[in-house]
Symmetry: C2
Subunit: 353 residues, 2 copies
């Protein structure tokens, strides 16, 4: 059925009356071919609809002109934006993006990485600083440049690009503490296979420590990143008794859920409860009650990852960017606590039956 034959370099060479090698040069190293000849070849190639076979070129050059990226899931705006930034930047350098998701499963991540390496990706982007040891072994064995994103440089022996959770925690807790809060809750993602969550909790705890505030274990709730689960977390907190005066959320989606549920429960924000998100998603600024959150550089991370990888691939000396800027965006979900933290009577009154 499929009788069309793809035209190849030999066809162009024959038509131009030169050798295939010359055609190859005209395309890849134009300066090595005399002007007139080059022009003729290029025009012919264009007219004949010639374009090099990627597999053959990859085999001959040992370069695929493709970069791989493995993320937990695309169903999370943060990763989507990182990938978007990465892809846009790769595009400019004529690199393709191979994408796969791991579902937060290190085993799946490992398998995906192996497949990508088999495809000879020239570089690989992964998320976070904690991975299957076999992955690192594989990466090292292959010699393929890779970079970890959403991992602060100082936290990993491997090349990493991201912001520092300590900075975020200082910003958030410092601000809340300045407002007068002493009683905190933390609603974050699950730590299994997500080192960013563990790091953030650790950072928050550390800063809290410096203020002589302790975070009770039952004040740290783990939920999936959905609005519903955020609401569910608030219910649980209410059920547990006196509500903290401030809740720090692991991302904006959870924060939305918290806010939504709080309002359903008749709690006023920030009167009864202050809430801080993380990520500054598009919706944060545009809710009826605009969310106080931390702006993180998502597409910037993707861009820098591309930069780094491309640099390494081309054997340029590249230095990793340092920690990236984050910024506290104060909006309307945070304020002074209504009552002295030690006796949150008001919150208790609103406890669900």
């Amino acid at each position: 059925m499929d009788t069309r034959k793809r035209i190849k370099i030999d066809d162009v060479a024959a038509a131009a009356g030169v050798s295939p090698a010359t055609v190859s040069r005209a395309i890849n190293n134009p300066h090595m071919v005399r002007g007139s000849v080059r022009a003729r070849i290029l025009e012919l190639a264009e007219n004949m609809g010639y374009s090099a076979d990627g597999a053959a070129r990859a085999l001959a050059t040992r370069r695929s002109q493709a970069v791989g990226a493995i993320i937990p899931t695309l169903d999370n705006a943060m990763f989507a934006r990182i990938i978007d930034g990465l892809q846009r930047h790769l595009y400019k350098s004529n690199y393709m993006l191979l994408l796969a998701s791991s579902d937060y499963d290190p085993e799946k991540e490992f398998r995906n990485a192996r497949v990508m390496l088999e495809r000879s990706v020239d570089g690989l982007m992964i998320v976070g600083a904690v991975h299957d040891p076999r992955l690192y072994k594989l990466l090292e064995a292959s010699g393929v440049p890779f970079v970890q994103t959403l991992a602060p440089a100082r936290a990993s022996p491997h090349p990493s690009i991201g912001y520092d959770s300590d900075t975020v925690a200082q910003l958030v807790v410092g601000y809340l503490r300045g407002l007068g809060h002493r009683d905190f809750g933390l609603v974050v993602g699950h730590t299994a296979f997500n080192d960013r969550v563990a790091a953030y909790i650790e950072s928050v705890r550390k800063v809290l420590d410096s203020f002589d505030i302790k975070l009770a274990p039952d004040r740290v709730l783990h939920r999936q990143y959905t609005v519903e689960e955020g609401g569910n977390a608030l219910q649980q907190l209410v059920r547990q008794g006196p509500l903290p005066s401030a809740i720090i959320a692991g991302n904006d989606t959870l924060a939305f859920g918290l806010i939504h549920e709080a309002q359903l429960q008749g709690l006023s924000i920030p009167g009864d409860l202050s809430i801080v998100g993380l990520g500054d998603s598009e919706f944060a600024a545009n809710l009826p009650r605009p969310l106080t959150t931390v702006r993180t550089p998502k597409s910037e991370i993707g861009r820098l990852a591309a930069d780094y990888l491309l640099g390494r691939i081309e054997n340029r000396t590249v230095n990793l960017p340092g920690e990236m800027q984050v910024e506290l965006v104060v909006r309307s979900t945070t304020g002074r606590p209504a009552v002295a933290a030690p006796s949150p009577a008001k919150a208790r009154n609103k406890t669900l039956a």
Copy 2:
């Protein structure tokens, strides 16, 4: 520096005391190799850390085991979910995903497609039913199976998977009309290079026609898909005089913007204004005022696209799914219009200074 040598099929063959051909068979056509030999080869391959070179295999088989996808942008949850569905399904069949974005630019889409075809993708997913003619020519010339998503089958001569905007319009307008609305506004994306928008407008207009309702040109506003722009559209509508009693938004993000701005303007929803979104994004159900919207099957579309492409690639006879189900989800942003449509005095009173 990089002295590690990747181990290849000859190495395994040598170690196993067989020919490379047999190793190849053991891996790709196990039944062609005697059990004992096969076992030995496979184990050896595993231990030696052998994995086939993708480029070489692709060159020899004329198959890349990769599928390409070109979407307008990842910075839009809809496309992100489609890709997510696509990738997950490809993964199961051991296919890789090559991803690129076009920024709603047909020229860029074309260039991306060409590069992907050079890389010998085995299939290609594109979005919508309107593309650069050169793209179709290229696709046909290459013989590579492709599929259009977010395009209803009946609207294109090319294989397409999506829902029908007529159905959506009937659902939305029918419901609103049943509530008593006669005065409509439409806030959608830009039509340039986005045939879905034009189709939706057309569909809405058609259904409105059947109710003898006309849609004034200044009641159709085009905005980018951001919350801000949605709010901006409402301002414009307010500025233009009597507000429609119902606004149909091109997606949930715009709907959020409309709601948010309406509330800032002191309009009550749905008392003064009914709003319907499109897409049923995660937030739709969880806003202080849950959004009435239309649920569209996003990851399902990705999954079916993968199915179709994989089928075509393996030369199975595949039939495209018919139109896909959409569902009106009635929540709290829609209700009966407050006043008779012909004299929306109330709305006028709220016009901005």
